[in-house]
Structure formats: structure tokens, C-alpha cells
Amino acid sequence: MRYLLPVLVGCLVLGFWEFYVDYAEIPKFVLPAPSAIASALANDAAGFASATWVTLRITGFAFFWALLSGVGLAIIFSRSRAAEMAVYPYVVTLQVTPVVAIAPLILIWVGFDNVERALVIIAWIVAFFPVLTNSLQGLRSIDPQLHDLMTLSRANGWQRLTTLELPAALPSILTGAKISGGLALIGAVVAEFVAGSGASTGLAWRIIEAGNRLEIASMFAALLLLSAVGIVLFYTLSLIEWLCLRRWHESFR
């Protein structure tokens, strides 16, 4: 039932859409029928595949760096209040400044030699904050008695990190990662939009290009693929979360 119901709803909507576009004679540059979108996708499968790969790569790298820098900074902040006081305001500044406004600067500084690197940096700015705040909260809310236990057991810094802190903060880190995965994709799309014509070859660029040519079916096809990337990303992270936590964490009881 859980899978059947949404599929049934989807089929009904698609059927009605197909029928209505035909019945009301809606022009295909306003709303193409699902069949037209499917054939647009099939006609340029190779092009769409490579565009998807570009966007996926930007998203993946941005997400990877977000995870690394977010967890790394959280560990440093949790160990040193001074480091947090010194750096945190700038992290917040970077977070609250609209990325669309910073993007042209980054493109100018980095993008001339390597567009993709600039896009990854823009997507990373969007993605890394939730990992940082969630990881920090996870590290801060570890039971102080467990820290005492580590002290009494004479754990060194590395043992404390790997035996207690990272596993205890893992649920929060993964929550941050799930939010961050979606944001990395949004960041990648925003970056491609800002980078504009010729500089990028990802799915967002395909959307702009198709829009300019009034190829609305291709636009829908690219949109569909973007959603698919987002969904795959989210459920992959959910799967990783389930694999890591199901045995011991309260949320999987």
C-alpha cells in the first residue's frame, strides 16, 4: 500500500495531464504532454546523461567538502571555545549573505581558469552550514559522564574522538548531512544559473538553454532529472543513516 498508493496517484495525474493537453489543444511551448517530455528525454539521452553527470559531480564534490569542513570545524569548535569565538561570526556571515550575490565574485576569482571549481565552491557555501551546526550540537550534547569515563580510562585525544565523540555525534552529523545533501544540489543549480551561458554544461544550464529556445519539453526533462538526483541523494543518505544507527539508536527502535 505504501508504494502502490503514490504510484497510483502519479499514474492518474499523468493520464489526466496527457488527456487534457490533447483535449484542450494546449500549445506545446506552454505545457507539453508527458509523452512529449519522455520523447525529448529519449531523443537526447546522451546529452541529458552527460548534463546529469556534470551536476551530480558538482553536487557530490560540494557535499563531500561540506561534510569534511563542517565536521572538522565542529570538532575544533567543540574543543576550543576561543576558536569558536574567533571564527564563528565569519561562518555566520558567509551563511547569511545570499549566495547569488557572492557567486559572481567567486566566478571572477576562480572561474576564469576553472569554472567547475568555482561552481563547487558556490555549492559548498550553501551546503556546509547545516553540517557544522548539527555536528557541533551533537558533539556538545554528549553526556559529560561519558567524557569523565574517558578521562578516568586515560583515553588520549584520538581515542576520545573515535571511541566517544564521533559515534555519539553521528546521529546529528547524519541529520545535518541529509539537509546538506539537498542544499548541495540547490547550490549547484544556483551556481550554474549564475555562471550562465557557455560556462556550464549541467542540468541547470540545460533548463536555461531550453527556456531560451522555448523547448519546454526539454526543460521539463531536465527538471525531472534534477528531482531524480535530489531524491536519489536523499534516500542514499537515509539508507546510510539506517545502516549506521539501526542497531543502537533510539530513533530506530
Binding site: 553526556d143 569523565d148 578516568l152 586515560r154 571511541t163 543502537w248 539508536h249
Partner: protein, 262 residues
């Protein structure tokens, strides 16, 4: 291990929190090797602070702690304090792994410790699969596995129901007689202190020791709670706590029943 055991002693120990609130005020006492001492007092009187100071988690503001061994102290917290993502075996083995013991040595010690607390069958269970009493036993096994000369227990059974608590009290006495550690047991329960300890130190609200009582030696363990000497011991502790003896004994009982229903 072959060295002659040194008396653990506290000499005029003071602990101030935030440089103003005095938690411990000039505590001087000494613990004979292999003795079982209970430290009794009302909540917030600094009992736990004594243990944390002895364990080295808190540095005294004045005075000193002599003879608390490095790596030779087992500590049992109020809660089980287990790593939820590690099984029973790994939780017990963890401190010894940090200490760099060989795998075979660790294995032998873990199995022995789990046997002492009666959990050898559950070595691969995760903490969430265990009851509150079992988790406390794992915590006890972890403290025992390193064969500590000094065993510090901070109200370890306070959160458990009365039946489980009485059973664990009995087990703890057995373990102490086997392991021959010096035990300091913090509790706010007068009856538990009187039942377990050879000697009871009584603290008051202001962080001072007010009494040092010897408990009667017992002949027959199984019926000790029914003996007059046990009730006399309870009464003497109550008196030292500054209550009318009869009232205090009652209130200790009602406090326990309240905990059991928590």
C-alpha cells in the same frame, strides 16, 4: 601488584566551585586497604565531590589526596554510562584497550568480570537490549575488569527498583570479598549504607564530616537485615545525620519506596 598497599588518605581537602561555593570543607580521613566504607549524607552535601576528587576528576583547592593509584581506580557512576553503540564485551574491554593490554589478557579479564556480575551469557548484547539492573552490572564489570585497588561507587543503584537494588547490594558484597579492593560507596540511603559497609562516614550539608561510625561485624549474611545490630546501625547513622533517630529511619524508608516507584 607486589608493592605493599598504601593507605588512601585525604588531608584537609577543600573544594571550591567557581572560587566561591565551598563543596568540601577541610575533609580529613583515611581508608584502610581492602576496607568497605560508605559515605552518607543528604543530596548536595558534597558526597560525589569527594569521589570525584579521589578519582582525580577534580583538583582540590586546598589539601591533598594521598595514595590514589594511577590506573588503579575503578569508578561506577550513578547511571550505567555505557557506549550505546558498543556491545557489553566492548564496553567492558574499552578502558583496558586504552591501557594497551594484549588481546588475550583483555579477553580473560572481560570474561572474568562478566562472570562476577553474572552476565557472561550476554557479552554480545547492546546496552539497549538490557534492563536497568543489567546495565548497572555491565558498568560494575567495567570498573572491576581492570582489577582496581580502589573501587569508587557514586550512588550506583539509586535509580533501580528496590528488589534489583537489594540483589545488587548482595552481589556487590560478594564481589568485594572476592576482589579485595578498597571500596568507597556513596549513597543517600541509610539502610543501604548500614547493610553494605564496615564503616560509615556521615556528611552534612556544609561539606564537613560529622561522624565516623564502625558497623557491626556480621556473622550470618543472609539474615542481616533482620538482626537487631542492623537496626541499631541504621539508628546511629540517622542520629549522626542530625535527625531524631526514629523519624530519620522512617524517612529513609519512605525515600526508598518513592525511588522504587519513580
Amino acid at each position: 601488584m607486589t608493592e605493599t598497599p598504601q593507605n588512601l588518605s585525604l588531608q584537609n581537602v577543600c573544594v571550591d566551585y567557581d572560587n566561591q561555593h565551598r563543596a568540601l570543607d577541610g575533609l580529613t580521613c583515611s581508608f584502610e586497604p581492602g576496607s568497605f566504607t560508605a559515605l552518607v549524607g543528604p543530596s548536595g552535601c558534597g558526597k560525589s565531590t569527594v569521589l570525584r576528587t579521589v578519582a582525580g576528576l577534580i583538583a582540590p583547592s586546598h589539601g591533598e589526596v594521598v595514595g590514589a593509584g594511577d590506573n588503579d581506580t575503578g569508578y561506577v557512576f550513578q547511571e550505567p554510562t555505557l557506549l550505546a553503540w558498543r556491545n557489553v564485551y566492548d564496553n567492558v574491554a574499552m578502558p583496558m584497550r586504552f591501557a594497551g593490554l594484549s588481546a588475550s589478557e583483555i579477553d580473560q579479564r572481560v570474561r572474568h568480570a562478566l562472570q562476577m556480575v553474572g552476565l557472561q551469557e550476554r557479552h554480545d548484547a547492546l546496552p539497549r537490549q538490557l534492563s536497568g539492573g543489567m546495565k548497572m552490572r555491565v558498568s560494575l564489570a567495567r570498573a572491576l575488569a581492570n582489577r582496581p585497588r580502589l573501587l569508587l561507587l557514586d550512588e550506583p543503584f539509586a535509580a533501580l527498583d528496590e528488589m534489583t537494588r537489594m540483589r545488587l547490594d548482595d552481589d556487590l558484597r560478594d564481589i568485594w570479598q572476592q576482589a579485595k579492593s578498597t571500596v568507597i560507596f556513596v549513597t543517600h540511603s541509610i539502610t543501604e549504607a548500614a547493610y553494605l559497609a564496615e564503616r560509615v562516614l556521615v556528611m552534612r550539608d556544609d561539606g564537613r564530616l560529622v561522624a565516623d561510625l564502625s558497623m557491626p561485624t556480621r556473622q550470618d549474611d543472609s539474615h542481616f537485615r533482620a538482626q537487631a545490630s542492623y537496626h541499631a546501625a541504621c539508628a546511629s547513622i540517622s542520629e549522626a545525620l542530625g535527625h531524631d533517630a526514629h523519624d530519620a529511619y522512617d524517612s529513609a524508608d519512605s525515600r526508598q519506596t518513592q525511588e522504587a516507584t519513580d
